[in-house]
Symmetry: D2
Subunit: 141 residues, 4 copies
């Protein structure tokens, strides 16, 4: 299974008056991990959109285990958790450098036409991504 | 059951290049609804923090049904979905003015001490909120 | 001179670990005031973009006088400060309810074609806005 | 003169429906450059705050020359533009990889006590930073 690991530099702007990273920002970090995983698979999300499709989130869940603070060194791990030819689910772990889990979560995406937001089959219309997603989930031996 | 309904004016800043509201911003709108519901219950969140506690999210889930665009008129409905004396779960619906559901979700919160992030029993230490949360969940006849 | 006055509800998300509103967010509040002033003049910004143009900021300046905190009651005042048929400059004041000035600033905008970002003369191509901008600057007697 | 150069990965979240980076986000990028320059000078901003002071922006100005889009490769250059023992002004350039200037700007900061927001003399109370700021402005021969 291919897992991407991306360093996150906590931005002052991402903190709130609680003194920790504001919870909605983890969805932005998930996006950073997802973009980087997609590059590992050989694609660029900004190139994908040039084909007239976008990939909105249809479902998201997040578990907040430990706060992350400004100055902390953290990274986000991202992998493909499920894929059925139409919908793809990414899994995420935000971890401190000592291995402690800060936040876990997942987001489910579809591909839709940019102008109509109608769903498009990845298997049928984007066979290269289809193969890459399957490959990304393969168990290593 | 007490349900708060708060108007949302979509900000240009909240859109992304997909032409719709960026998904993480719904968590911010949930926060707006939650704050307003808490006021309906007779409290101000900014007063609560003066007592040395904060109320972080421990769990969140969001279902994205229909995109919201700049210029759309939407509101967020918020209610208390579950409460056990320690953890409180809020439910949310973001709806268009024609009644169409755009986004649904829930967030679970605890109360912790601001300096240590150690959990505090609401039932025990904040009996007024405890009563308010119970009242908020009461079925109307 | 037409001045718009719009209430701002400070969002928890807008604060940072300094315990005050993060400075970049005032540009977002300026946008809220500007949008509302444009409505006072009889236009909707989301309708304007349907004509294939957008109105990017070309210059901005902000003076931070006093911090704004979560729970504070503030409003933003917006007016047309300068206009030459091509470029429009808005002025802004963020004020506390007691009249104390928190933040002042201005932003200068042009109108450009959405696809090429080439400037468009407001005077020539949008005579209705042109008249409205002139009217907005008129001294009351 | 010490100039810091930091790579920026444009986040999808930072774009708006105009298809470009939303203008307020450049202030966040300035913060990233500033933090990195401060590290080049031998300090960590998150350590500085542990001494009971914070460094709010008192003035900012930004000139938007060319839009930045998702997928663009850009960096921010940051340097100390002026310093008088009390107030420090940083200069910034956001540049495309081909050398084209996208955005320029400056921010002026003071050091204040975290609890009272009263100004503190850097020269007097933080002689190490004082020296570092002077050193950062020295002309190279």
């Amino acid at each position: 299974m291919i897992t991407n690991k991306t360093e996150i530099n906590v931005r002052y702007q991402e903190t709130d008056m609680m003194g920790v990273v504001y919870h909605a920002n983890y969805l932005v970090w998930f996006e950073i991990g997802r973009t980087s995983l997609i590059e590992d698979l050989g694609f660029y999300y900004h190139e994908i959109e040039k084909q007239g499709v976008v990939s909105p989130v249809v479902d998201a869940s997040i578990q907040f285990k430990r706060p992350v603070r400004y100055g902390d060194e953290v990274f986000v791990k991202t992998w493909v958790k499920a894929y059925d030819g139409l919908r793809i689910t990414y899994g995420y772990h935000v971890e401190h450098h000592n291995g402690e889990l800060a936040v876990s979560g997942e987001t489910k995406h579809v591909i839709v036409k940019k102008d109509t937001f109608r769903p498009v089959s990845i298997r049928k219309h984007f066979p290269d991504w289809h193969d890459a997603y399957l490959r990304a989930m393969e168990k290593s031996e």
